[in-house]
């Protein structure tokens, strides 16, 4: 955790239902410079699976494992 750099952008998806978490995440990553770090905060249960799977399928990498925070998840993805 300490070794990880601070997120450059935060995408707050709390309250949004599918498919918007995936669309917003992919669009945010697309708009960022390579190597920048995106933090995603999401609470739609469908997105716990489709956001990380689609980020990886679209060629992005995770800075660390997803963090379960109560009823929400936090993702850290490199653009």
């Amino acid at each position: 955790m300490e070794a990880m750099k601070e997120a450059d952008f935060t995408l707050d998806l709390r309250g949004e239902s599918c498919p918007y978490p995936v669309i917003y995440t992919l669009e945010a990553l697309e708009g960022m410079n390579k190597g920048e770090l995106l933090q995603v905060i999401t609470d739609c249960p469908g997105s716990f699976r489709n956001v990380p799977e689609e980020a990886i399928a679209h060629g992005y990498t995770f800075a660390q494992d997803p963090v379960k925070n109560g009823q929400e998840y936090l993702f850290y993805i490199y653009a």
Partner: protein, 395 residues
């Protein structure tokens, strides 16, 4: 064990195969199928009756048999069982949270989409259950038309979803944002456990008082609710996400589940010499399917998916539920009163593949159709990612 059952979502392939087998079993036991929107239509009729509207003359209600109340119909208990099953699992996994959409426009989109989806589903005589997941295994040809039509409707829905004015601007901020503070006191699983005990006691009561059909409805409804919530089974995403981001997981899982269900239902029909449930295949199936496909994408969920999402606390699905019931009821009114039947349904026919192609032809053609669907899914996924990589390479 506890961790993997209650903390994780289950593999959608396993969930849909089990759901497919259970729905075949439910058919074998009751001669009816797992379905929900027919009951939504009856609910709408019951609500109108409370307000003094006499719907007994509406032909649609004679067709779907509006008698008793939702509590005295097995179809009613399928619906309430699904709600309870989903809620129970949400609580047991400590994942209930009131989730309010940041984008206010979602409420309008959900309500309008819900109406269109409810109307379309009942026009086609079934949603993605009776005209899809449990329709194909009944060898009812109307479900083949419905699948194609839903695909078309979803395609346009997906286009709409990508439009700027529709999706809205996300809340993207510079720097690291703060997540919510997680509560340390966990009470949801206890509430979930209590609900499970009370409900199972009620099921035992139904059986012990000889109300076997209600008991079966309540029990299978519960099982279906547990399954769709834990598997996050979203029929809406099956086509939509394939068009949007080349995601194929749910599509493949649904096709595999339908294959399992078709084979078992075929055995049940042959061994017990049962009559499969066949609905009219007509222009209404095509029009209804397209409307349904469009509506579920607008609403972000179909009549089945909205049930467990509502139980998770996703407030968006309240207007969707209301919309579904309203849309179904409007269709029931328009069936004879607005001439929908004469224009779109009358020319159709009940076509069952077992009757027209023979048993071997029916199961073979169904398996081929599902195989083609699977191949198209893989093709679409591959071509999406090929295009995406090309685009990325250029940029």
């Amino acid at each position: 064990m506890f961790q993997s059952v209650f903390q994780r979502h289950w593999n959608p392939y396993v969930v849909l195969i089990v759901a497919g087998l259970l729905s075949a079993l439910y058919f074998g036991l009751t001669s009816t199928v797992w379905a929900v929107t027919g009951e939504f239509t009856r609910l709408g009729g019951e609500i109108l009756q409370v307000f003094g509207v006499d719907v007994s003359g509406w032909e649609y209600y004679q067709m779907v048999k509006l008698d008793g109340s939702t509590w005295t119909r097995p179809d009613g208990w399928i619906v309430w069982g699904m709600f309870v099953g989903a809620l129970m699992m949400v609580l047991l996994s400590n994942s209930f949270k009131v989730r309010l959409p940041q984008q206010r426009r979602r409420y309008v989109q959900g309500f309008v989409g819900g109406i269109i989806a409810g109307f379309g589903a009942r026009l086609a005589l079934g949603c993605n259950l009776a005209a899809f997941f449990t329709g194909v295994p009944q060898f009812s040809f109307h479900s083949w038309i419905f699948i194609v039509a839903t695909g078309i409707g979803t395609f346009f829905g997906a286009k709409l979803t990508k439009m700027r004015w529709w999706k809205g601007k996300p809340s993207l901020a510079r720097g690291a944002g703060k997540p919510s503070v997680a509560k340390t006191r966990v009470i949801q699983p206890y509430v979930g456990g209590a609900i499970a005990l009370v409900y199972l006691g009620f099921v035992v009561y139904l059986f012990s008082t000889g109300q076997k059909l209600l008991g079966l409805g309540a029990l299978f409804g519960l099982a279906f609710g547990v399954l769709i919530e834990r598997g996050q089974i979203c029929f809406t995403s099956a086509f939509r996400d394939l068009f949007l981001v080349g995601r194929s997981l749910m599509t493949k899982a649904i096709i595999i589940g339908m294959t399992a269900s078709s084979v078992i239902t075929f055995v049940v029909i042959s061994v017990y010499d049962m009559t499969p449930i066949t609905q009219i295949a007509a222009l209404s199936t095509l029009v209804g399917g397209v409307l349904f496909g469009l509506g579920i994408v607008m609403a972000s969920g179909c009549e089945t998916g909205m049930m467990y999402r509502l139980m998770e606390g996703q407030v968006l699905f309240l207007p969707v539920f209301a919309g579904n019931v309203i849309g179904a009821t409007v269709l029931a009114y328009g069936w004879d009163n607005l001439g929908i039947y004469d224009v779109l349904v009358q020319g159709g026919d009940k076509i069952n593949l077992i009757a027209t192609l023979g048993p071997a032809g029916a199961i073979l053609s169904t398996l081929v159709m599902l195989g083609v669907l699977y191949a198209l899914t893989v093709y679409r996924e591959k071509s999406y990612h090929r295009n995406f990589e090309l685009k990325r390479g250029v940029a």
